[in-house]
Amino acid sequence: MNRACLCVNLDSNEEHISDFKVELTSFEGEIFAAHTKERSLAYIEDKNLIALIIFTNQWTQEIDSVLHSFQQAANPNPEHIFVVSLENDPSVMKGCFEYGVEQFFGAEGWQESVSNIITSELLPTIEQDSVQLKLQQVGQALKTADQKEIGELSKELEEASKYDYVAAIARGKLLEATGSYEDAEESFKSGEKLNRTYVPAIQSLCETLIVLGKTEEAIPRLEKLEKMNKNSFQRKVLLSQAHTKTGDLEKAKTYLSEAGLIAPDDPKLKEAEVAYLISNNQIGEAMKKLDETENIGHYLASKLNEIGVRFSQNNQSEKALVIYQKAHRAVRKELKHKISLNAGIACYRAKKYSESMKFLQRSKAEYGSAYPKLIRVANSVKKAMAEGGKS
């Protein structure tokens, strides 16, 4: 399989960046160069990247986004990321620490070293080590939300997650995507135990702990990380969500404002704001803001499911369905089947059996197959219909 390398220099212009294409001479794959965040993200999305080389002397939120995307979509292993930096700038050091990136090179001589690592270490590992190959597939599986592939990958990474922290985190994310939050928690904890300084392991764990309501475990971890670096947007959002969950809305708002100062345009910010507004009983405003969000994650999805269920249980199925409709549009692909299932249950409670069956069918299609809870609900709907109930 042809592998490519991406060189990113957001401080440079296009002419200069093209020079990098000739510098990695011993690397035989394709080399792409980007000097804007948008182009970097497009390459990460479209190309089969094995490595990311970032040239920077100062940390910016744009670099943060590029690194985040690379680990999410291309390869979660921090060893596939290289930083070329003239000096030890603390913002770069702290920013890279957030992603477990440790391969730093000076401006002189980086070409041969990076080429050597890519050709003699990364490429053979990807080709020969089945775990590394699986790790490369995780991002794509989560993106397409193919539950069958997600399930298979999670099983295949089970053994590796006992000794490899990157595998443990990747497996945790796969488990999250199937809704198995307790198992995901266990996998993230294994990752944290294997490498206690790997921030993505700790933050992923905290994200799940917040969804599970275990904020007493999540907050001390996040606060400790916050002491190391006060400029992480992701962490401010998580802290805001954690405090929203505990009901400490004042703190939640403070972290939200701080996150807004770091990355005012990040879609995650809107997501956190929606969660905050819901907790502050500003449902109307929350729903308006929800329309502006997309790709929302586990925490808000679970919160939306929660209020939908509350409405549905209080015989306000219409309101529940409005929320589910908005949520369905906004949540990440792998979370849609759960929204559809809950919409099906809301219709069932409202005795709208045909509509319920339609939502259940949609949930099945989104999941890829029927799953136990869906089968149970579908059986109940069928039984009610057979007993003469009409929608």
């Binding site: 930083v83 070293s113 050597n116 490899d164 135990k193 206690r196 700790i202 971890r221 400790k224």
Partner: protein, 478 residues
């Protein structure tokens, strides 16, 4: 000539000087020894030839007329004995008479010295000649492009003796570098290999305890590491992310950096890891704290220590501290050749914060050692082997030159994971030894080491011939 550059300092060059009067070369000998040469002085051609055949020197300096021969007869003799005819011969024309000049002009000598030996002139001539064979030995045969390189690796014997919550500990006869990257293969075939990155060392009675941070271990073998006996190395490590450290357990560090903004930000980061730093941008203040309470300090971090007047004064001040009270130093440097020891750990800039934390933790272990903390003794463990990926750059009369991605300490004993050469070399010695190691200039993580297969007794010529013919046969068989 080598196809890759060979670091000029890794090879100690042997020069044989043949003279009628030993004292003529004594000054030159002393001078050349300062430039990484060793000099053997012979007083006639008979002794000279015997030494040349035995030691295969890299240079010969001979006077034009000897008591039992001449430079010309020496040239003719060596010409018939390849590969000894590769040795450059420098002829010293002492009296510059017509007869003497005519005699030496009959052969193609490498260089001439007219009159008495001027050490500076000789050094320049040698440097010129060295360039012509790429800083290596004249017997050096490049193997850089040979296809066996993928199969070549350095093997070091060790015993995995135990673990702490953060460290995996092995015992071996070598010290392992902070930037080491290698595979550890347990002898037990049921146990899987592991890949380790980064190491430090504790030394006790010639035995080195190689300490590997467990969080850098990769591979399925990590599982057997967890089954090793627990060891107590003291509380060198900060607690897990969800634990709180008591005040007594916190580590005390003096942090020196001229860049105040950077220094303060890094100190804040370290604080979150229960490393309490006293920041200063003044070396005098570092010394003053050490003079007052060195025993309370677990490590001193210096961001670049150069050779300014202040830096030199500080280095001199350090010598005034009471023996055994000086804490370990962690020094950030742009230098590629700085080597860490128990007292001084060097971390190359630019670096990541995780690497920095690891380096601090290694220093804390050394700090504990100097405070007579628990030491691992009499531990029985798993036999294992370090496998270090290496590239054989070439072979020469005593062994050869290899290239690795981190420094191999001089004195490291090893065998090679390449049967074709291991078979030949094992006839000369059970293990081979690194004699010099330097980084290639302007290339990060490329270290060249010269190694000896043969030392003291044993025929270098036979070794060279056996290695060369074995490699030739192997290359043909491919």
């Amino acid at each position: 000539m080598s196809k890759v550059p060979i670091h000029p300092s890794i090879t100690k060059h042997l020069l044989v000087a043949i003279t009628q009067k030993r004292e003529r070369f004594l000054t030159l000998k002393a001078h050349l020894e300062k430039y990484n040469f060793s000099v053997a002085i012979c007083t006639d051609m008979y002794e000279g030839l015997a030494t040349i055949r035995q030691d295969m020197p890299h240079f010969i300096i001979t006077e034009s007329f000897l008591s039992d021969g001449s430079a010309t007869s020496l040239f003719d003799t060596l010409e018939k004995e390849p590969p000894l005819n590769r040795i450059p011969i420098i002829v010293q024309v002492l009296k510059k008479t017509r007869q003497e000049l005519e005699e030496v002009s009959k052969r193609k000598f490498s260089a001439f010295l007219l009159g008495a030996c001027e050490p500076g002139v000789v050094v320049n001539k040698l440097a010129e000649l060295l360039k012509s064979f790429g800083n290596a030995s004249p017997f050096f045969s490049s193997t850089y492009t040979l296809p066996f390189n993928k199969a070549f690796h350095v093997r070091v014997q060790s015993v995995a003796v135990g673990q702490t919550s953060e460290l995996f500990v092995c015992k071996s006869a070598v010290e392992i570098d902070l930037n080491a990257k290698m595979i550890i293969n347990p002898k037990d075939p049921d146990k899987k290999p592991i890949l380790i990155k980064s190491a430090s060392n504790m030394t006790k009675e010639d035995q080195h305890y190689n300490l590997f941070p467990k969080r850098t271990i990769q591979g399925p073998g990590r599982i057997w590491v967890e089954s090793l006996s627990e060891m107590n190395l003291g509380s060198a490590y900060p607690p897990a992310p969800n634990q709180v450290q008591s005040q007594e357990q916190q580590k005390q560090v003096i942090y020196y950096d001229k860049d105040r903004s950077r220094g303060e930000q890094i100190c804040e980061f370290l604080g979150a890891h229960d490393i309490v730093s006293t920041y200063t941008d003044n070396l005098k203040r570092v010394y003053s704290i050490l003079a007052q309470r060195a025993e309370d300090i677990d490590c001193v971090y210096l961001h670049e220590l150069g050779n300014t007047a202040n830096d030199i004064e500080f280095k001199n001040d350090l010598k005034k501290l009471k023996d055994g009270t000086r804490p370990p130093f962690l020094i950030a440097t742009a230098s590629m050749s700085a080597r860490s020891s128990a007292a001084f750990t060097f971390i190359r800039t630019p670096f990541g914060l995780n690497k920095m934390l690891q380096a601090f933790e290694m220093c804390f272990v050394n700090s504990l050692r100097s405070k007579n903390a628990a030491e691992p003794i009499n531990l029985v463990g798993e036999s294992a082997e370090y496998n270090i990926v290496a590239k054989l750059i070439g072979i020469d009369e005593i062994g050869g030159v290899l290239q690795t991605s981190f420094a191999l300490r001089p004195g490291t004993s090893f065998t090679v994971g390449f049967e074709v050469l291991q078979e030949v070399w094992s006839k000369y010695s059970e293990t081979f030894t690194i004699t010099g190691c330097m980084p290639l200039p302007k290339q990060e993580n490329v270290w060249q080491s010269r190694f000896e297969v043969i030392s003291g007794t044993g025929s270098r010529l036979k070794l060279w011939q056996a290695s060369s013919s074995q490699l030739e046969a192997y290359t043909k068989s491919l």
